[in-house]
Symmetry: C2
Subunit: 357 residues, 2 copies
């Protein structure tokens, strides 16, 4: 199958550090190539891929100080995709609402994976294009009142082999936090849990400009370089090290997380997860087996001793069976076939209508 | 002719206060209707127009606190224009670079008026679509290295009758400044000129969020409620009052102004203009007759006594002959005919090419 994957330009594929969407797009793209598909990846020029790379920006916009209006490049990339639409059997957009109006102009079957959440503004444009083909990354992510034409839920998959299993963490035990240092991800809750339990906490993740004030006020004052530590943005190796050697990973979110890649990354290394009961969390964690789904910070503090007793191999096996790249790509291939079949049916219907008229 | 006018959604048409683009779109649209054209105006739902109003947002985005992602609405409007493209003989975009990729999908002849300046980012997307039909609002606004297909320069026009001539200002004499309180418009220079000459200065215009720090540091400390006064955003009546009763209007810009509507508004009421020699300024002011084109603040201070001697009726007549709505709409009608003729030629060439092949 000739497939186009369209990634956001903000971060490269795969991302050097944090960047959930681009990581998933990278795994999906490379595995599709390994399975014999003819894949073109639309992404920033510094991306690394087994597919053919088509790029209108030499490097990730986030890292290019000359870029002030990223929207310009999003439009240029979408335009390029449309120009080449006839070269593909299917186009898979990962770029959010901006792709919606363009998708109307292409005759090629199209699917959109919605990686984020809906905002009060974006709801309106999604609703206007509700008949296009959408894929959710968890059931919890769907907002049913929008009436979107969801053709599948495909849980994100990860490269299991890149997250070696740690049967027993070798360092002094600590709690881990990984993710943007933003209110939604709850790093302030992680600090509260560490302080209430006396555990050491190691945190890593990027700080977006919009979150600088939050970081200065809620996080930075607690960084003592001893009990509470911030490691900055991590490489993949540092991430695996951080998660695999943790006793427990904290996922104390305050928003409806659409998926939460960090949870499976942690479980894959063997480390159980204490997570807040919001969004996709109950779909991703096997409560009482690979972690605990809690309703507030106090419950998380209370569950910590039980989490320490969980079997690390069980955490690992659970991810292998449910969240591998192979399973994700199986699911996406099915979704692509569904979108193509529906498109042929629709065109068939139009033709017969024309014959009757 | 069936014409679509596409305005930005940020401000309504016409704007209640400041808003150069929306003011020009309003005059152009209404005059085209008066001349018998069938005109549809795509703009915010609170716009007032003689044309048919087509709107995807109930009110100007700037005034709607629920709007966090204005880009969503820009895309929704462009999508609506494309859906209706076949209803028009010509589509006239005033919405900047976002319209460019959409214009490629429409078969209807299209013109873009570029109202603003090029940025390092937007240059790239304009260049990618350089063969579309562009209209500049001054010769100075063109950046020739981009190689854009400019089909005309059309100076902005204004409704002369809405700016009554003041043969003699009746109040205590003062200098006027009208425009965004941003570094580009030079309100800090206006204050410097007032302080150096001892003249009273009355300033009006909006303060954008991005300019708040500039306002707090460079403007607010000088507002003494006596010599230096800031009137906030003005209604049309207040604007006419402010300009018409001024001895001289200051236009001490620090950027390459693409047009500078305030200069003609002022001259129309009879008030000459002292302006900085940047961008369109020498095209808009008749040096030594309707104002003075200066190269720095000191030259403006020096020219002030000479500006006070200029004939107010000459200022008025100059605007009537060069910057009326009628003259602007004459020019746009010619540009539309040119775009339509070129489009027919192009399609004609394609057809004969096909016949030969």
């Amino acid at each position: 199958m000739r497939i186009a994957q369209v990634a956001p330009l903000w971060e490269r594929v795969p991302p050097p550090g944090y960047g959930g969407i681009e990581l998933v797009v990278g795994h999906l793209t490379d595995e599709l190539v390994r399975r014999g598909h003819d894949v073109t990846l639309f992404a920033s020029g510094d991306s690394q891929t087994l597919a053919q790379l088509e790029s209108i920006a030499p490097r990730a916009l986030r890292l290019d100080p000359s870029v002030k209006e990223p929207g310009v490049y999003d439009l240029m990339q979408l335009q390029r995709v449309c120009q080449r639409a006839q070269d593909f059997d299917l186009i898979h957009f990962h770029t959010g609402f901006t792709a919606l109006p363009f998708a109307d102009f292409a005759k090629t079957p199209i699917v959109h994976t919605i990686h984020g959440i809906f905002t009060a503004d974006s709801r309106k444009i999604y609703q206007q294009h509700r008949d296009q083909n959408f894929i959710s990354i968890s059931d919890a992510q769907r907002e049913t009142d929008l009436g979107l034409n969801y053709i599948s839920t495909v849980y994100n998959g990860m490269a299991i082999e890149e997250y070696p299993f740690k049967a027993k963490p070798h360092n002094a035990p600590y709690l881990a936090f990984l993710g943007r240092l933003s209110p939604e991800k709850g790093p302030h809750h992680a600090i509260a849990i560490a302080k209430k339990t006396g555990w050491k906490l190691k945190m890593a993740g990027k700080i977006d400009r919009v979150d600088l004030e939050f970081y200065e006020q809620e996080i930075k004052p607690h960084l003592d370089g001893d009990q509470i530590e911030y490691l900055g943005e991590t490489t993949h190796e540092q991430k695996v090290e951080l998660l695999g050697n943790a006793a427990v990973t904290l996922f104390p979110i305050t928003w409806r997380e659409p998926f939460g890649l960090v949870m499976i990354e942690s479980m894959c290394t063997g480390t159980p997860v204490l997570a807040m009961n919001l969004g996709s969390v109950p779909e991703v964690i096997a409560h009482g087996k690979t972690g605990f789904v809690c309703n507030n910070v106090d419950e998380m503090v209370e569950a910590l001793p039980k989490a320490l007793q969980l079997d690390r191999q069980t955490c690992r096996d659970y991810v292998v069976s449910r969240f591998s790249v192979n399973r994700m790509v199986d699911d996406y291939e099915l979704a692509y076939q569904k979108a193509i079949a529906e498109s042929m049916n629709r065109n068939g219907r139009v033709s017969s209508g024309q014959l009757v008229a």
